[in-house]
Subunit: 320 residues, 2 copies
C-alpha cells in the first residue's frame, strides 16, 4: 500500500562540505524530470528532505533531517560518511556499485602494473629523445600481482590482470566463494603473510575501515618481496606515508603508484612530488557515472517506499 | 619404424643474417644435452644438418641443406623466411606459438590502449612537475578497440581488453568460430569498412603477407573515426609511413604507438623520433621464451621422424 506522499516527486539533497555537487543536477533531472533538488546553502526545510546524496557531508547535517529515508553515498566507499560523528545510523545507508566504475579502475590498475613491470616510462623517454634501447623483456608470467580487497573493483582487476597473463592472487577479510579463473585466494589475518610474500606488485583496493586504516605500513612492507611495487587505489589513509619513504630507503619497495592521499590535493611541498620512484595521480583512477548515481538513488527511494531492500545497502557493523 | 639415424643426437643450425643467435644455445643444450649445434660461420657439412632455426637466414643457405627435415622460424611470423627467394618450399616450415608470448603482447597492448585513452603521459609529467591536474575521465566503455588479426596474439589481446571493460571488435581474413565473450567479430574485405568505422583504437596484429603489406595506409586511415589511435605491433611493412604522417596532419589520427618498423633500429634521423603524437618502442612488445623455441624445435623433429604432423606447421599458400 502506498501513502499519498508517494505521488509527489522526491526531494533530494546533494551534500558535500568539500565539493560543489551541482555537476550531478543534470543527471538527476534527466532521470526524474520533476525532482526537487536541494543544493549547497539552499537546502530549505530540512524535514522535507527524502534522500541525501553525500560526499563528505557537513558533519551533523544529516542528523537534522528527521524524515530522511535514504543516505546515499555517491561513491563505492562510505568512509566519508562515517567521518560524521552524528551520522544517523538507523537510516538505510547505500553505496554506489557502478560496473562502469570497475572498467575505469581496471584500466588504471592494468596500466600501472605494466608501466612499472615493463619499464614503459623509459621507453616513453627514449621515444622523445630518439633512443632505440631495449630493456630486458620479463614475461608477465614471472611477475606476481596481489590484490588486497576483493570487492567489485578488486575482482574486476584480478580478472583483467589474469587475462593479460599475470599470476594473480587476492586477499580479503573473509573467504570468497567464486574467484575468477586462475586467481589464487587468501583470506583473513592467518593467510596475510603468505599472500604478501608473493606480491611483486601489491594493489590496495580495500575499503577504509578502522581495521584497514594504516594497513600499508612498515610491518606490511617488510613482508613483500624485495623491490616490490605498491599501487594504492584505495584511500589515502590506508597508507602510512613515512613508512613508504623508509621502505624505499631500505630497498624493500622499488616503486609506488598512488592515486589517493590523506590530504587532497596533495600539498605542493609534499615529498612524493617529483620522486622518480613514485607516480602521483590526482585521484582519477575511476569515476562513478553521473547517470548511475541518479538512477541508483531514485531506484533505492522507490524500493524503500515499497518496503524492499535497497541496492548496495551498507552493513555498518562491517563498515562496507 | 625408426631408422638407425634416429639414435644420434640431432644436428641443429641456428641461422640469421642479422642477429647472433648464440643466445639460444643454452636453452637448446638444456633441452637436449647431446645436441650438435651449428652456429654462425661454423656450420660444417651442410648435408648433415637436420633442422634450421631461423631469423632472416642468409638467402640461399637453406636451399644448400639437402637433408633438412625442418625449417623452424624462431618467431610467430615467417615473413623473414619468405624473404629468401630460394626458400625450400617442399620442407615442413613451422613457427613458434608460445602462450607466454601472448602474455607479453597483451600486457604491451593493454598498456598502450590505456596510455592514450586515459592521457597517462600527462599524469606522469604532472607527477614529476608537482602538478595536481585532473583530465576528464572517459570510461573504457566509451572507447572502442578493434584488433585486426585474430591469431593467438590477437585473440589474447581481445580477451584482456574486454576483461578491462573496453568494447572490443576483431577482424580477420576468414570468419572465426570461437571469439572471447563480448568480442564482436568481423571478417573479409566485405566487413572491413564496418569494422574500421568503430575503432577508436586500432591494433594491427596481422601476419605480414603480400596481401597485408601496406595494410595501414591512407585509404584505411580515412575509414577510422576522426582522432583515432593506431597501435602497430604487427610488422613494420604493414604501415605506409608517409600516410601515417599525412593522417596526423589531417586530424584523422591523433596518436600512434609503434613497435615494429620497416628498418630496425629506426634510423636516428627518422621523423617518428621525438614526435609527441608517436610513441616509438624498440620492438619489445614481446619475446618468445628461449626454452619454448628449443622445446618446440626438438618436439617437431621427433614428430617428423615418426611421420606425424609437427606443431604450428605453416600453410605456405596462406602465408601463415
Amino acid at each position: 500500500m502506498q501513502s499519498a506522499q508517494d505521488d509527489r516527486p522526491p526531494r533530494v539533497a546533494l551534500l558535500s562540505a568539500v565539493l560543489d555537487l551541482g555537476y550531478l543536477a543534470p543527471a538527476f533531472r534527466e532521470a526524474c524530470p520533476g525532482i526537487e533538488l536541494r543544493l549547497g546553502a539552499e537546502l530549505g526545510a530540512l524535514e522535507e528532505i527524502d534522500a541525501a546524496v553525500c560526499w563528505f557531508p557537513p558533519p551533523g547535517l544529516l542528523a537534522r533531517m528527521p524524515k530522511l529515508k535514504l543516505v546515499q553515498s555517491l561513491a563505492a566507499g562510505i568512509d566519508h560518511l562515517l567521518a560524521d560523528p552524528q551520522l544517523p545510523r538507523g537510516r538505510p545507508l547505500c553505496r554506489i556499485v557502478d560496473p562502469g566504475m570497475a572498467a575505469g579502475m581496471t584500466a588504471y590498475v592494468s596500466w600501472a602494473v605494466v608501466q612499472h613491470h615493463r619499464g614503459m616510462r623509459a621507453y616513453v623517454a627514449g621515444s622523445a629523445a630518439g633512443r632505440w634501447q631495449e630493456q630486458e623483456v620479463v614475461s608477465p608470467r614471472r611477475h606476481r600481482v596481489g590484490i588486497a580487497g576483493l570487492g567489485t573493483l578488486g575482482l574486476a582487476c584480478a580478472e583483467a590482470l589474469a587475462a593479460i597473463g599475470y599470476p594473480v592472487r587476492g586477499w580479503s577479510r573473509s573467504a570468497k566463494q567464486a574467484l575468477p579463473a586462475g586467481v589464487a585466494g587468501f583470506h583473513g589475518e592467518a593467510q596475510l603473510d603468505q599472500f604478501l610474500s608473493g606480491c611483486d606488485t601489491l594493489v590496495c583496493l580495500l575499503p577504509l575501515t578502522p581495521q584497514t586504516q594504516g594497513f600499508l605500513d612498515a610491518a606490511l612492507f617488510a613482508k613483500l618481496p624485495r623491490g616490490a611495487h605498491l599501487i594504492n587505489v584505495g584511500r589515502g589513509d590506508h597508507l602510512v606515508e613515512a613508512d613508504l619513504l623508509a621502505a624505499f630507503a631500505s630497498g624493500r619497495l622499488a616503486a609506488a603508484t598512488l592515486d589517493a592521499f590523506s590530504q587532497e590535493p596533495l600539498p605542493p611541498d609534499h615529498p612524493f612530488w617529483g620522486d622518480p620512484r613514485i607516480l602521483v595521480t590526482p585521484h582519477i583512477a575511476t569515476r562513478t557515472d553521473h547517470g548511475v548515481i541518479a538512477q541508483q538513488t531514485l531506484a533505492n527511494l522507490a524500493l524503500l517506499q515499497k518496503g524492499e531492500r535497497p541496492l548496495n545497502l551498507v552493513d555498518l557493523e562491517r563498515g562496507y
